[in-house]
C-alpha cells in the first residue's frame, strides 16, 4: 500500500472513532437538558396524553443506550429529525443554510493562506529588523479582537463612512439566480450572469475579511516562527554558501520545510472559522448556518442543534483529512517512506 493511501486509511479510521465520540458527546449534551424533551417539544399547553405519545415516539422511556442506538441509526440513514423552529426536516434546513457559510469560510480561508503566509515569510526573512516588528504588532492586533469586532469596525469604515461595500446580505434582490449549488459565486456564473457574480463577490469581501483577519495573523505568526527555526538549519547556510539570493532562499529553502509543521495548525484555524462565522454572519445579516443555529439554540430545538453541531464536526473532520493528505503529499519523508510513520 502506498504511504499516502496508508495515511488516508489511518486518518479515516481515527475520524470514524472521533465521529462516534462526537455523536456520543452531542447525545449526552442533548440529554442533560433540564426538563422533559417531550414537554419542551410540545410546548406548555400540551395534554399529558400528547406528552406520553411523543415520549413513546421519541423512545424516551427506553434505556439510555437504546436511545443512543436509535439516534445513531437515524443519523446513519441521513435523518436528523424535524426542526421545531421551522417545522421542516433538519437536513433540508442545513442544506439551505450551509452553502452560504461554507462560501464565506472558504473565501476567508483562502485569504488567510494568501495573505498570512507571505506576511510570515516577509517577517522571517527580515527577522529582528523593522519589517519583522511591524508584522509582529499588526498580526498581534488582528488576533487580539474577536471577528465580530472586526466586522463592526470594517462595516463602519467601509460600508458607512466610505460606502464601498454593501452593509448586509449576499446578493442584491434585483438578481434572480437559480440556487443550484447554494454557492452564489458559482451559481451566478452557472447562470451566466456576470454582473450578478460581481455583486455576489462584492457582498462577500467585507464579511470574509472580518472572518479572515485573526486567521491571517495566526498563519503569519506561525509561518514566521517555523521559518525562523528553519533559518538555523545547516542547509540554509549551505544555500547561502552557494550564493542564492535571500528572496530565493526565503521562498524555496526556508519556506517549504517550514510549511509542513504550519499546515496542521492552519487547518485547525480554518476549521475554527466555522465557529467564528456565527459572529460575522450575525453582523452582516449573512443568511448562513449561524442565524439558524442561534435561532434554534435560543428555542431549545434539540434536533436542529444536534444536526447543526454534527454537520459542523463532520466538515471539520473532512478539512483535517484534507490537510493530512496535503502534508503527506508535500513531505517527501512521508511520501517515500517504506515503513509506517505517524
Amino acid at each position: 500500500m502506498s504511504p499516502v493511501l496508508r495515511i488516508l486509511s489511518r486518518r479515516l479510521g481515527i475520524s470514524v472513532i472521533v465521529l462516534i465520540g462526537v455523536s456520543m458527546l452531542i447525545f449526552a449534551i442533548a440529554r442533560v437538558i433540564p426538563g422533559d424533551p417531550a414537554r419542551i417539544a410540545l410546548g406548555p399547553n400540551a395534554t399529558d396524553d400528547q406528552v406520553a405519545a411523543i415520549r413513546a415516539e421519541m423512545h424516551l422511556d427506553e434505556p439510555i443506550v437504546a436511545q443512543y442506538g436509535y439516534f445513531v441509526a437515524d443519523v446513519l440513514r441521513g435523518d436528523l429529525g424535524e426542526s421545531l423552529y421551522t417545522n421542516r426536516r433538519v437536513t433540508t434546513d442545513i442544506a439551505e443554510f450551509l452553502p452560504a457559510t461554507l462560501e464565506l469560510v472558504i473565501v476567508a480561508g483562502f485569504m488567510m493562506v494568501a495573505i498570512g503566509l507571505p506576511l510570515g515569510i516577509l517577517a522571517a526573512r527580515h527577522r529582528g529588523r523593522w519589517p519583522d516588528h511591524v508584522v509582529r504588532v499588526l498580526t498581534l492586533l488582528t488576533v487580539s479582537a474577536p471577528s465580530f469586532v472586526w466586522a463592526v469596525i470594517l462595516m463602519l469604515l467601509f460600508s458607512f463612512y466610505l460606502p464601498l461595500f454593501p452593509v448586509a446580505g449576499r446578493l442584491n434582490d434585483s438578481y434572480d439566480i437559480a440556487r443550484t449549488t447554494g454557492f452564489l459565486t458559482v451559481d451566478t456564473l452557472l447562470a451566466g450572469n456576470f454582473a450578478a457574480f460581481i455583486d455576489a463577490l462584492h457582498h462577500l469581501i467585507l464579511p470574509a475579511i472580518a472572518l479572515a483577519l485573526s486567521g491571517i495573523g495566526q498563519a503569519a505568526r506561525l509561518t514566521r516562527a517555523n521559518m525562523v527555526e528553519t533559518y538555523d538549519k545547516p542547509y540554509i547556510e549551505m544555500a547561502q554558501a552557494f550564493g542564492f539570493f535571500p528572496s530565493r532562499i526565503a521562498r524555496r529553502y526556508a519556506f517549504k520545510p517550514s510549511l509542513i509543521p504550519s499546515l496542521t495548525i492552519i487547518g485547525l484555524d480554518f476549521a475554527a472559522m466555522l465557529g467564528n462565522a456565527f459572529l460575522v454572519e450575525a453582523v452582516f445579516a449573512w443568511p448562513g448556518l449561524s442565524r439558524y443555529g442561534v435561532a434554534v439554540i435560543l428555542r431549545k430545538d434539540l434536533n436542529a442543534i444536534m444536526g447543526t453541531v454534527l454537520v459542523i464536526a463532520l466538515t471539520f473532520l473532512v478539512v483535517n483529512i484534507i490537510v493530512d493528505l496535503l502534508i503527506a503529499f508535500l513531505n517527501p519523508r512521508i511520501r517515500h517512506s517504506t515503513r509506517a510513520t505517524s
Binding site: E237, M238, F242, G243, P257, P332, R333, H336
Partner: protein, 290 residues
Amino acid sequence: MSNLLDIRDLKLAFKGLSGLSEVLHGIDLSIAAGERVALVGESGSGKSVTARIILGLLQETPNARVSGEVEFDGRDITAMRPRDRARLRGTEMSMIFQDPTSSLNPTFTIACQFAEVMRRRDPRMKQAECDARATEMLTEVSIPDPERVLNAYPFQLSGGMNQRVMIAMALVNNPKLLLADEPGTALDVSVQAQTLRLMHDLVEMHHTAVLFISHNLGVVREFADRVYVIYRGRIVEEGPTDAIFHAPGHAYTRALMDAVPRITGAGLPEVPEVSDDFLAPMVRHDGGAA
C-alpha cells in the same frame, strides 16, 4: 607568484549586550591557486568565522564588524556590494559542511539541488543537461549508481553518500576555491578518511584551491600542503605541513599534536590546559607561499 586568496590583518568583532567583543585579532593568511591549506584550531578559535568572512556571509550579519582586507582573485571582497559577493558564491568559490545529511535540503531531490547549483552559473541550463552533468560528477566521486542517487532525497542516503554528493555539488561549477569546514566530522572515522582521500584526488585533478578547516591536526596531515594553526583569534604557527609536523615551533601546536592520538573521529581535541606559552608570538616556517 600571485595568490588566489590574500587575507591581511583581518579583524572581526561582534556587537553584543556588553559592547564589542573581538573574535579575530588581525589574521594574515594566503592561498595560492590550486594549493591545499589547512586552518587548524580548537572550537571557538575563530577558524569557522574566517571561512564565513571569505564567503562574504558574516559581512551581512547586522552585529558583526569586519575590518581588514580579503582579496580573492584580485578583487577585495570586503569592499564589494552584497549582491556581487553573492555572485561569487557557488560559482568561483563554494563550501562543504560538517554534517552532510542536514546540509542538504530535505524537501528536494538531489537532482533538483544539483540543477539549482548549476543554474547559478548558467540560468538557462535545461534539466536534462543538468542531470547529465550531475551524473558525470557523481561518477567522479565514485558513486556507483548515480541515477538512483539523483532521484533520491537526502534522508534516503547514507551519511557517507551525502558527503560525496555535497563534494560533487561543491565542485560542479569548477570553483577556484573550496572551503571545507570540518568535512565529515559527523561521520565514521573510516568513511571520513575515505571521503578525504577522494576529495584530495578530485581537487588535485580540477586544480581547485582548498581551505580545509579542522580541529584535528592528524586529519590534515595527509591532505594539506601547508598548515596554519589558530589560537584564540590569532595565527600562532604557519608553515609547510611536513615542517610543522617535524618541528612544531609553538607551544600550542605541540599541545594540539599531543592531543592527536587520543582523537577518534568526532571527538574534540583535549588540549590539556591553558598555558601562558600559548600566547607566545607566532612561529613561521620557511618555504611557505606567503
